[in-house]
Symmetry: C2
Subunit: 485 residues, 2 copies
């Protein structure tokens, strides 16, 4: 087991996860601070992860008939104010443009915190008949929510996201669409980011401002905190009524349609980093890693076989490239092998291949898995298949490890004393029977900083005769509580 | 020759190109107006064209080692003010955020009109050695420039673009990079958008605020106006000095590096629409068209063979899809064939295929080219190749037609009287010997609204002993003047 965090100047993850996180984000070249309060710079290595997420989701969206579009960055304040709950939810977080082209504006504009209001004004115009439905629009863009305390990727004033907005004839169709989006998010977290999040419904306190119901993906961070990692909302006809969106059915009758909205942001990258990394730096799951394999030729001082080693390394890199594996050959001779190993470990590249005189003689490639530092030997002749298998194993193993973590960091208790006791020992998710009352949740939050994260999908139909762990009122279902990012 | 603009409610292009443009943008579903002054909504059909442009350029950028990143939307005013010429150029167009999170900001932020200043602050931090160079960063994002008079796609307060920013050891390297970007732009216009723009250097009056030299792509619109369609700037060390970007060479000496920036925006879509459309609507070049081929089954009233026709149409659509052709099957039975033909013509789909009883009997498919309404017959057995060939022909023919237009709309004159005479008759590009003096250009602009568009690449080394067509001072090179969008 190699331990090289000292060399890299990384705070060990086990010692202080917040400092480790900040160190690794900066040193691995994922992001940087900017001169703008609360806004970060996403550097190429971090942006490449975002591009992989985009590419994956975008294909699924399009297969389902969701079309990309682009709506204005600015929203007139009067438009934002149309849905009262929505305005109340977002107004404390707004950035406001008051001047344009050297003049004070007659009406200030908000920089979009989300685009329901600006989009639905147009939807009213575009929809008249049932034949115009379903309407499924997605937008990849930046949004701004003024934050007091910010955190690279996890909470920034500006962030990148996608926001899907759909309109349907029936509420059942909207509900199905809301679940479809939720499943896309679950899939990208589980199969690409190798995380095993909780998936479920939000409480009344925690739902989206203006939604009927909000479902969410909650990722379990190694420090026991919850990261709200994507949300999908059933807006019912709340917005369509306010924005007067109407369709005529085949009998000539007018109705307000039913809507959904759903989003996933660059915050996902924060959850990815926090979850998988270790004292040597990042660990990226192969499915999402910008570089899946790095090849390091091991040049000898004597240099007898260096030309052959370099040529073989290039040939193997090309073979892997042809098989659609994202491979980098690092043949730089100005840095030592040790330096390069540290650097690529820090960047979390899932698989490292080394090729030196010994490997040449034995017709092998030495491999090291980033997730567990396991050493492997691959035959040069069948490298592509061996690498593919290793990447599949790493992906599976990271996911399995995260699933274990989730179980370890989830407790079940019966009463408030036990609840507080558990949370005093360590931040965890706690599953409890709860009454689903707003005021009760508010009180628990004030006393423990923990809030409901979700009612897990598996618990929605739970129907037991229990008492609320906090207030003692009747409760039929178990909810997950945790502190959140 | 079919003429169906009446049915579509389109103003004929020949009658009023501005009204035609607005009609076609709205009716073809490319874009829509919004409630936000000067900001447009890019609808899915328009956004799909932008995605095709993005995909094409992004591959070329990455092959060259340009990496995507993301910098903040907001720029502190003090940072924007660092390069004086740059500030002077952009300050009349700024949108300014004065409030955030319910409080007035200590320092207002500009919404980025371009990102030189916010990026170069970071470049200073990231660059220390010659080993850090070249640095090549690109960003796909929205920018805001407050416009008094706006025009869908062609001039909007907010628009989408890519901005490339590179840093080099030598000015020669920067110059080469600037040309490389310019060639990418030329290539996407010529080979994808089927336009034949002028390519050359900008005058001192017209260059980018802060650049040493600006090169530009100027597309010739059918009304004789020029559309600045992409720009590439050699920034020399203007910004690196102001932002104190320094690298240490291999001798340990410090230097300011040399920079470029280059951008292409959603304005390109405006040029595309204006150039190729006709009285029936849009005409999209196959290389960039979201839908390259539409298949219309021709159902008969009797309906005897409708099932077979539909099945065959589906089979042919699948064959084309497998060959990576972007095909849509419009088997909708609620609208007449004539209605559907009009709608797909309006949307500018390059090739329309029809399949009815007659075609079934003859084992054929009837095809109509959108560019010239030519009717073709394709054998069903070899449809993919025939379609590919037709698409290639349409692409080539649109490009050739635009090249002819460019020649027709370019005049060469000797003196100012002839210059004014030519421009009185019709808006055109005029090639003239000009002294390259700022004040002279300003005077011409005030008197004729025409400005220099470019010094064509082929004319940069021109070295004749002539007189300026306007002021009579000595001139060695011919420049292109025109009115611009």
């Amino acid at each position: 087991m190699e331990k090289s965090f000292e060399k890299k100047g990384l705070t060990p993850k086990s010692e202080n996860i917040s400092e480790w996180y900040q160190d690794v984000v900066l040193k691995a070249g994922l992001a940087d601070y900017s001169d703008v309060r609360g806004c970060m710079i996403i550097r190429p290595y971090g942006y490449a992860i975002w591009e992989n997420i985009q590419k994956t989701l975008d294909v699924w969206f399009k297969e389902d008939g969701v079309e990309n579009a682009y709506f204005p960055l600015f929203i007139p304040m009067s438009l934002l104010a149309k849905e009262k709950e929505h305005l109340k939810g977002f107004s404390p977080e707004l950035a406001v443009v008051t001047h344009g082209g050297g003049e004070e504006l007659a009406e200030p504009y908000a920089v979009r915190p989300t685009s329901e209001t600006i989009m639905y004004k147009s939807f009213k115009k575009w929809i008249s008949s049932y034949r115009d439905l379903p309407l499924k629009i997605n937008q990849w863009c930046n949004v701004v929510r003024w934050e007091k305390r910010t955190y690279l990727f996890l909470r920034t004033t500006e962030f990148l996201w996608q926001e899907g907005h759909t309109v349907h004839i029936t509420e059942a169709e909207a509900e199905a669409m809301m679940f479809k989006a939720l499943r896309w998010y679950q899939k990208i977290y589980e199969e690409y980011l190798a995380l095993s999040p909780y998936v479920g419904r939000k409480s009344e306190n925690e739902k989206f401002a203006g939604a009927k119901t909000t479902y969410s993906i909650e990722a379990v961070m190694p420090n026991g905190k919850s990261l709200q990692a994507a949300t999908s909302h059933n807006l019912a006809d709340n917005f369509s009524k306010v924005f007067e969106i109407e369709f005529t059915d085949d009998q000539g009758m007018k109705h307000n349609p039913f809507q959904t909205s759903w989003g996933l942001s660059t915050r996902a990258i924060g959850g990815l980093i926090l979850s998988h990394g270790d004292d040597s730096g990042l660990i990226l799951p192969p499915q999402i890693a910008p570089v899946q394999v790095v090849i390091l030729p091991v040049f000898s001082k004597a240099g007898t076989n260096n030309t052959e080693i370099r040529a073989k390394a290039e040939q193997l890199a090309n073979e892997l490239k042809l098989a659609q594996i994202r491979v980098t050959l690092d043949a730089d001779e100005t840095h030592s092998l040790g330096y390069k190993i540290n650097a690529w470990e820090l960047k979390g590249v899932p698989l490292r291949l080394e090729l030196g005189e010994r490997e040449m003689a034995e017709n092998l490639v030495s491999a090291t898995r980033r997730d567990n530092f396991e050493k492997l030997k691959f035959n040069q002749q069948n490298l592509t298949n061996a690498v593919k298998q290793a990447l599949t194993d790493i992906q599976a193993s990271l996911y399995a490890r995260n699933k274990v973590l989730k179980t370890e960091l989830t407790k079940e208790v019966k009463d408030y004393t036990a609840f507080k006791q558990v949370l005093r020992e360590q931040k965890v998710f706690v599953r409890v029977f709860w009454c689903e009352d707003k005021a009760c949740e508010q009180q628990i939050k004030e006393e423990t900083k923990a809030t409901t994260r979700v009612l897990e999908l598996e618990h929605i139909d739970q129907n037991e005769q229990e008492k609320c762990f906090h207030c003692g009122k009747s409760s039929r279902r178990q909810w997950l509580f945790a502190q959140s990012y």
